[in-house]
Symmetry: D2
Subunit: 343 residues, 4 copies
């Protein structure tokens, strides 16, 4: 069977997580997120963000996190601004609209929203009340195309959002990868200070499932549990989420796993560079988009699985390779050898 | 710490499930329910129901299963009939209404819906189109108060539903317990033949999480995946659900675990009978509702946790005790000794 | 053709309303409720309620008023308490649930909600966040069965609602009839002081269409226009609503029309009493529910149309007769003659 | 006061409509659209479309028509394709999304959707079930920028829609103006044969309020009344809508009024052409978009009200002028004189 670089959720969980599940298995715990492990894991997050007033909630996946946060925060006439590449705009089967809210998609060059992008959406929605009111800005870090926000970019966005009475919400399905990228200058603390809410993704970083929603804005914290329950996100055995995040966060495991994934991607990137490849976008996280000739793609795909991402012209396409906490040195070395043979 | 009889999801998972998760952990699999384990587990269900044309989907919990099934099956003007004790009517924070549908609650004596109950709802909604149209009947087996449906009762309901063009949907969060009750005469095959859809609960029967939705009615099978995705139920690592159900269903484990829970409950029930207790309802599954005097409740609660379910009069209340796959003989024997001391 | 007592919307509009439409027809006005007539009509309402801080919005009908007010006021996890006879509970085809909110129906003896009724709903929804949160109390005045609230009853309700952080919303589709009933002691001023919002019905009181929503609670006034637009209620020619309410409210026409309807009903009531009839409920507004023998019903229905409302026993049923601003003395006298013949 | 060319709903109704309302005022009629006038008006439409199997429903406005039709036709995971200029995409405050459905906005050069535009949306939504399913194509005729569809264009669209299992729905708020444009080659019959549903707008063509929804596709006709009721669109006095459409359609009034509006616009267009103006788009209906210099705009706006539609550069902008059934020759002649003075 071919090795797959299609995504970062092809394997189960990091062994330490399975060990923790076994270790605590027979301890009786309260249901619905009121177990000891959820409490501890939440505290670890507050410690790392140095924001004791945030509230933490664990849910099973990213689409769930996005739809609950957004529908809980907004009134019926309020809308969301997202990049066109944003997961909520294109890849969640209308999950946000199904809760009643319009999502404005903005064309961007690198998957990142900037102040000007948002201002332009606002500018063409001034015919009140005939047009929806923009109220929440959705960004992903790292983005769906592997790029990351700098400290300055995030600060600018948040400052703008506050001046316009907009909420800023960060999808952190791959936040670990963003924060451990070599070009990153953001910390969890910065994110807690410069967003109204965000989440720390577990599913794509070594957990079986799980995203940790962190609500920083006090006005948005109230009665959030109702929304979790109503949308089917409150697991009877919330301990499953708590145990995993407790293990990921009790030391530096969460960031070590993301860092590993990034480094494996960077090794592959270097190999592609070596043979003269160009890339669709400049990424320093666990997604790379090398542009290859059709026959090169065919040769690589004999032993590896990956997505052909975007046709460049009749002769070339960009492919997408994703590495993960589980991508071994062995497989990376094998891949590098095959890349070198493409030249 | 006190031992808790509050519910059947206080522990993690049956050890065989954790072992399976460890065993398959590093096999790369497709995401979103397209993994080998989901396929195998689905096939096991089709084999056991002897209904090869059903479609199986795995989700993380009961509220999620209920809201997705119901919202996928109904058009905007259609409503649901449920017992007032039905989980969707009282305990899901308005999850069904949040998808746009009215739920009619029917007062029942034992948590079970009968043909007459449904007919009465239809009778008072004949002012078309000013009143909603009843389209789906929701039942739970075992019910939220521990009772079960007989073969004849289910057949009557389904015959009626078909004659009235209503869908019949069975919440099977505790279906294992229903099917292994000593008074049960239903089989999985009967259920597949006499419902439009149902689910097999994993969370309350030894899994970490997971319910297996089975759609029998072909007209309702189409494009169900969109609804799973849109409601945030399609796990990237669907393997977590597949692996668990594969293990539970590859032999008889699923039913053994439920049978164990039932037997532990019946032992406690016998002990309460021995000391002359009456019960709020006659149950043969893993929930019992003995009526105790206030001081007896106080004494029992020194070593055990449980819910005081319903006040009977100033001197007496019914309590609820729930056993599970994890309730050991030791704890049952200890409890029985304490029950005998209540006399 | 038989004369119909089936409802109070069988004719067009009071002639003065049609005259006003003709009079102002060619004046150019702003669209969407920003016309001069809407402004004037709104001011008339503020004058009559002596509450200059209320906000007034005109919509086309009662179901529309109900669904917009309720969905604008509530967050997704909040629910409504209504009498089981409440229009939103039984006669709006699931309109409120379609906006995502559960409606709790309470069985009442006379269509009126009391503090105890609401408290009981709250009492059985304490399992937070697994159960919805009650947030709005919906009452109708006059009710769907013709009864009215006294000043004391309304004050008690509002005091209770404020103490429990609940909104009180009054459906006033027949508010004119309530306020002109001989047993009434409420004023528009009382209603503005003792509800968070209410509406003044036009459709059933001489207008072609139209209900005037009055929002008293300042926190609920903000951005209401968006909800009107989003739900399709913001008429391009809002002038149609403004012109009518301006005419109804510029003097006492609104109350004269309702009073006329009530008086016609009371004359019929007296005739039924005269022949020894009992009534399903004691009403002093434009709906009466005399209990007749089957053959009496048959005889009356030869010349008049009305609804047989409720079967009492095999020999008797209650019928419903509704009078309106358009019910003439002639028709009432004819009817009275026929009633006397029933003896 | 300045004469307004801002829109086609600044006046009340054509005098014949008011006369009809007066004439039938005291006839008792059934409520909720079951009156004689609605029946007659519906028949007039079936006669004119030569499609006896269509179903006709009257509602009060365009946003209401759009949201009810679309939410009634679609299942939760289905989406709508619209031009970015489409009324539902930009000017209905998120009405469609509030019913749960995504609207894909397509940039067009002239407000009209073409087969290629739709195909491109489908092409980028092939990742099933992670992306919504396109199911309904929304077009307006005339469009929001005054352009119209030719017979060939409509046939191509409908053929494509049918081949792709998409519904085609035409917003006809200004359908009268489209069908009477000098460049038009479509008939009502063509439209009934080449759409699944459409509506005939009354509000912008001489009625007080009202749009006549015509559902041609039999599969979509069933139980439509429930949706009207649930969304608050079923007027108690449906006669108000029936009477108006009966009057508009009993002879050729509907088309005469639209033709009048178009001709007045064409006279203004000719005057602008005479002084050498260019136009933002080539229109033959009641909307024109002449491009003027800033000082010309200022001069015109001393006596007339209109919208400055789009800035072209620092010196020029396009303005929008809308004429209606009520725009008199006098005012057009006055305007033409002022236009000539702009040279």
């Amino acid at each position: 069977m071919k090795y797959s670089f299609k995504n970062d959720y092809s394997e189960g969980a990091h062994p330490r997580i399975l060990e923790a599940l076994v270790k605590y298995n027979f301890d009786q715990q309260n249901g619905y997120g009121l177990d000891d492990y959820c409490k501890t894991a939440a505290q670890f997050i507050l410690d790392k963000t140095k924001n004791p007033h945030s509230k933490v909630h664990f849910v099973s996946g990213g689409t769930q996190a996005n739809l609950i946060v957004i529908s809980a925060f907004l009134r019926p006439h309020e809308s969301v601004v997202s990049a066109e590449t944003g997961h909520i705009f294109t890849n969640e089967s209308g999950a946000i609209e199904a809760t009643g809210h319009k999502v404005h998609g903005v064309l961007t060059k690198d998957g990142k929203l900037r102040v000007d992008d948002i201002q332009k959406v606002i500018d063409v929605h001034q015919n009140i009340p005939h047009q929806v009111k923009q109220k929440l800005v959705y960004i992903s870090n790292s983005t769906e195309v592997g790029t990351i926000y700098s400290k300055e970019e995030l600060r600018d966005l948040y400052e703008f959002c506050q001046s316009k009475n907009l909420y800023l919400f960060m999808d952190g399905a791959r936040l670990g990868h963003a924060l451990t990228a070599e070009t990153n200058d953001l910390t969890l603390e910065d994110i807690a200070q410069n967003t109204d809410a965000f989440y720390l993704g577990g599913t794509k970083n070594g957990a079986l499932i799980g995203e940790a929603i962190v609500i920083n804005n006090k006005n948005l914290q109230e009665e959030f549990g109702f929304h979790l329950k109503q949308k089917g996100a409150m697991l009877a055995k919330g301990r499953l989420l708590g145990t995993q995040f407790q293990e990921l966060l009790k030391d530096n495991l969460y960031f070590e796993l993301a860092d590993h994934a990034n480094q494996q991607a960077m090794k592959l990137k270097a190999a592609f560079k070596e043979i003269g490849c160009e890339f669709l976008s400049q990424t320093f996280t666990n997604q790379i988009f090398p542009i290859l000739e059709n026959d090169q793609i065919e040769r690589l795909s004999q032993n590896f699985d990956f997505y052909v991402w975007k046709k460049i012209d009749d002769k070339k396409s960009a492919i997408r390779l994703i590495t993960s906490w589980a991508t071994s040195d062995d497989i990376v070395n094998t891949m590098i050898r095959e890349i070198r043979l493409l030249k």
